[in-house]
Amino acid sequence: MKNPSWSPYLVGAGIGILSWLVFLVVNKPLGMSTEVSKFSGWLAGLFVGMDAVTENAYWAGKTPKFGYSTVFLLATIVGAFLSAKWSGTFRWEKVPQVWSEHRGPGVMGRMMAAFWGGAILLYGARMAGGCTSGHGISGTLQLAVSGWVFFAAMFAAGIGTAAVLFRKSKTQS
């Protein structure tokens, strides 16, 4: 636990075994974006009232409320926090290295990009019906056609975006 990183093969096997347990014990796939989406519905409910939220055609079928999903999301945060604390790798980060090297060290620029990137990310995840865990791992491992199509579309767009976003170097040129 003190070691800051484990072999990626060990971690992958761990996630695979975790997915067995989740299927076996609670009859659910391992996923995260549904959880985040429900959380956004739950938060929206605090502002506009839960009646207004459940009137919405999308959330009507998902009933955002505090439950398994919320606990799973919060526990993921606690798990990552403990792991980082044990290994002493916890540190405040405003602008990560690769971003700084190519897009500059400005904090505002990085925060704007993170915000809009996050918005596009979850919008896309909901349109596709899942994310890296729901489609990329849980879907693909069940050999769902949807999981593999998502995987391919995600990689293609990601590679293209990285090529444009990180084309120029601000430190070397």
Binding site: G16, N56, Y68, A113, G117, Q142, V145, I159, A162
Partner: protein
């Protein structure tokens, strides 16, 4: 013991906490709570994410296949194949993943390691969730309906035996991993 537990029971909530804790620890130890590790996958400079995902798919998939064959699992959880929605949504997701630098799971976990931009992006994700809910009726009618093939699996769609698919994937991953380890050893 009667499996599965209901997710709304107290036992279900305790299990959610245990599973979430393990997931968070694994994501952090796998270094995928690090922005640089994730974006460097899409720049072909760091294969950590690919190694984790392929191993998780193989270990998870073969295990689920065995448990399914043994009759231990009540059902598969297959998401709908709506081709246009998957391709458009997957593409938006890929763009978002590189700009934000995380996916939903790793972004949530990264907040807990001190990444402030991951936290800002999480607020963005909540906005994205609300925006999707508000546009859902239109998306459902105009996008999700295109190429809607239902809940299909590769073995049924292609008539290739499932055992064969797993053998091909496992052998393919073995050679890919060996190649990646050899080429990174040379650098």
């Amino acid at each position: 013991m009667n499996l599965p537990f209901s997710t709304s029971s107290t036992a279900g909530l305790i299990l959610a906490a245990v599973f979430g804790l393990l997931f968070g620890i694994l994501l952090n130890k796998g270094r995928v709570t690090d922005y640089n590790v994730i974006v460097n996958l899409f720049r072909f400079r760091d294969w950590t994410v690919l190694k984790i995902m392929l191993t998780a798919i193989l270990v998870g998939g073969i295990g689920v296949f065995v448990m399914m064959s043994a009759g231990w699992l009540p059902e598969y959880h297959i998401k709908d194949t709506n081709l246009l929605g998957l391709i458009l949504g997957g593409a938006l997701f890929g763009i978002g993943m590189v700009v934000y630098g995380y996916c939903p799971g790793t972004g949530v976990a990264a907040i807990a390691t001190g990444s402030l931009h991951a936290l800002v992006g999480f607020v963005g994700m909540l906005l994205g969730g609300v925006a999707y809910a508000l546009s859902y009726s239109w998306v459902k009618a105009n996008i999700l309906s295109v190429g809607a093939l239902g809940k299909i699996r590769i073995p049924e769609a292609t008539s290739i035996p499932e055992v064969l698919i797993w053998i091909v994937l496992a052998v393919g991953a073995f050679f890919l991993f060996r190649f990646l380890e050899k080429s990174s050893a040379r650098v």
